[in-house]
């Protein structure tokens, strides 16, 4: 009997209970209006842990236009259950919704730093702001591509922070602003251009010595290759790229020649890869280094012999037509002369030399270049040089003695004549 009654009314009862649950507001759930009674006051402040006065004002109008504007305060501030709430609320856990970004951040250099007690290391709000968070494609957002570099620079161009945390590069922003990437993005609004996160990653930013970092020396070239694919492919096959893949730290990665934050166009006279600078500034650093040349058995005196040659002298004199290292050896595709794909492989020299010396004949590409005294022709040239220097010293010394004696004699006579007058 009772069972029958229950069976008859079970559905309506459930319905009523569900309705009750749905319609009876929780006693704890506060509405925005409740919060704004206090937090709508512009002069609402409190003292933080360091006794500094901080504002607790929330600009509702701005909040409502933020990407989270449709959420209630308590959706994030879940421990604000009643009014008045505890003096200090829990830190909002963005990971409740943004799980992936949150986890990446925990593992990042910022997240790790926070875990170790850093107060300055960037958490979510430092880049995204608090109540006024806007979508990344909103031009007013702090992480909008055009604003991002300045947002990172709040800390990364602050000498107090870079010093405290021993960050090696102290002002990447001003360097970036001068770079091809910075100029393309900022002045030309080319959104394909790299900004901070393109190379460093975003929530999961890692230190450059972390092998998982996209800017770790063994990863950075691939990172550049995400946009500069063709150059990366050539580089990866080059002597430099292969050496890096083998773990040779002395071999150059993209940034060793191009710079990192201040990557400049090769046409820029200040660029380390400008035709007038690449040989003396960029290639020279390793190929004139006794340590590196000896360690890897690289042919010595490449830069010195180049600088003595007409090409080298013309470059120093400002000639843009003269050959620099890259003109013959290639840029990203530098290969050993024994490699059939190398621009300086014997069979390819005709094309390489011929690109400037039209109508050149085989003596040009068969003859020795970078002449050093380890070869017979080099010793011949060196001997002639020594003989000439000896000749000059002897001839000029004899002339000086001959004329010096003449000068002394004539001066004596002059003095005598003057005295006798």
């Amino acid at each position: 009997m009772i069972y029958k009654l229950i069976k008859k009314f079970i559905h309506p009862i459930f319905l009523i209970i569900i309705c009750a649950i749905l319609f009876i507001p929780s006693k704890n759930l506060l509405g925005q209006d409740d919060c704004m009674e206090c937090h709508g006051e512009t002069d609402l402040t409190k003292l933080d842990a360091h006794d500094r006065e901080i504002s607790l004002f929330v600009d509702l109008a701005k909040y409502e236009t933020s990407i989270h504007g449709e959420f209630d305060c308590v959706d994030c501030h879940q421990d604000a259950e009643e009014i008045p709430h505890e003096e200090t609320l829990q830190k909002v856990d963005c990971g409740m919704c943004h799980e992936e970004a949150f986890e990446a951040h925990v593992a990042s250099v910022h997240g790790q730093s926070i875990e170790q007690g850093s107060e300055e290391a960037a958490g979510c709000v430092d880049c995204h702001s608090r109540h006024e968070i806007l979508a990344v494609d909103n031009p007013a957002s702090r992480v909008y591509p055009l604003n991002l570099a300045a947002t990172c620079a709040i800390c990364h161009a602050d000498p107090k922070i870079t010093k405290k945390y021993d960050i090696p590069i102290s002002d990447p922003l001003s360097a970036y602003n001068k770079s091809v990437h910075g100029i393309a993005l900022m002045s030309e609004e080319n959104f394909d251009a790299a900004t901070c996160i393109s190379c460093h990653g975003l929530h999961g930013i890692r230190s450059m010595n972390d092998p998982q970092s996209p800017i770790h020396w063994q990863n950075v070239s691939e990172t550049c290759g995400a946009c500069h694919g063709e150059e990366y492919e050539q580089y990866a096959e080059s002597v430099h790229g292969k050496a890096v893949a083998k773990g040779v730290r002395d071999a150059p990665v993209c940034t060793d020649c191009h710079g990192e934050h201040q990557v400049q166009s090769p046409a820029d006279p200040q660029s380390p890869i400008h035709p007038l600078r690449v040989s003396a500034i960029t290639c020279e650093r390793c190929h004139s280094s006794e340590l590196i040349v000896e360690r890897y058995g690289i042919a010595p005196s490449r830069v010195a012999t180049f600088e003595e040659s007409y090409h080298g002298l013309a470059i120093k004199g400002g000639s843009l037509a003269a050959a620099n290292c890259a003109s013959c050896h290639g840029i990203h595709n530098i290969l050993a002369s024994s490699d059939p794909n190398s621009m300086i492989f014997p069979a390819n020299l005709k094309t390489t030399c011929g690109s400037c010396h039209h109508g050149a004949t085989k003596n040009l590409w068969e003859g020795p270049v970078h002449l050093t005294t380890s070869t017979i022709p080099g010793r011949v040239v060196q001997t002639v040089r020594s003989l000439y220097i000896g000749l000059i010293v002897v001839v000029i010394l004899i002339m000086l003695l001959h004329n010096g004696a003449d000068f002394v004699r004539r001066t004596k006579i002059k003095v005598r004549q003057r005295d006798s007058v």
Binding site: L313, G317, G318, S319, G367, P368, P377, V381, I396, N403
Partner: protein, 229 residues
């Protein structure tokens, strides 16, 4: 009598040859060393950028061409003109030149009481003339071979270019230093000449200088004048 009588030492033609050579020589020295020593302070005043570098190359080649043309003209002048043949004869080295050198050194070191007596050209001028010929030949040959290196490379290997560059450089040093130490001493820094020997400008030299520096020729002219009278 002292300084008023003037003798013609250089004709206008010869002075023109001298200054064409001198100017092209100076331009060659500046534009050449500018290439070799681009970091020198004076080179930096002149070198600057692609266009100026090309201008430097052009100036060097124009000056080299002028020097070469003047050299060929000089050969013609010394062979085909009467005055040139006369000068050629004066310039021929003779035993006396070696004796004069020894005498002059002995005199300068106080081992002789009298200096040697010179004719139209002293051994000092002859040394300079032949040094100039030597230098011009070396510089012209190496310079032309470097200028037309594609042709040079038809016959020689690339290291010959390096060799020619070395010769061209050190001969340039030898020539420049010789001009400064030898030539500039006799026409500028010589205490009896200072501040400058004007004979290559006016073409004339004074009776006094003529007698002192070219006594034998002076004597000959005096004798001829005496015979005429």
């Amino acid at each position: 009598m002292k300084t008023k009588l003037l003798h013609t030492r250089w004709t206008f033609n010869e002075r023109f040859q001298h200054w064409a050579l001198a100017i092209s020589f100076i331009v060659l020295v500046i534009t050449g060393f500018q290439l070799k020593y681009p970091d020198a302070w004076w080179a930096k005043l002149l070198v600057g950028g692609d266009i100026l570098f090309d201008l430097r190359s052009l100036l060097h080649r124009i000056s080299g061409t002028i020097m070469l043309i003047m050299s060929f003209y000089h050969i013609y002048y010394m062979i085909a003109t009467k005055r040139g043949r006369q000068l050629s004869k004066y310039l021929l080295p003779e035993k006396k030149d070696m004796q004069d050198l020894i005498k002059n050194i002995a005199y300068n070191f106080g081992l002789r009481s009298q200096p040697p007596e010179f004719g139209h050209f002293s051994y000092i001028e002859k040394v300079e003339y032949f040094a100039l010929i030597w230098g011009t030949v070396i510089m012209a040959v190496t310079g032309l071979m470097l200028w037309f290196q594609e042709l040079t490379l038809l016959l020689f290997s690339t290291w010959v270019i390096d060799l020619l560059t070395v010769i061209h450089l050190y001969e340039a040093w030898l020539a420049t230093l010789a001009i400064v130490v030898w030539h500039f001493y006799y026409v500028i820094f010589n205490p009896d000449i200072y501040p400058i020997d004007t004979s290559m400008i006016t073409g004339k030299i004074t009776e006094e200088a003529f007698r002192d520096e070219h006594y034998l020729e002076w004597l000959k002219i005096q004798e001829e004048a005496g015979e005429d009278a």
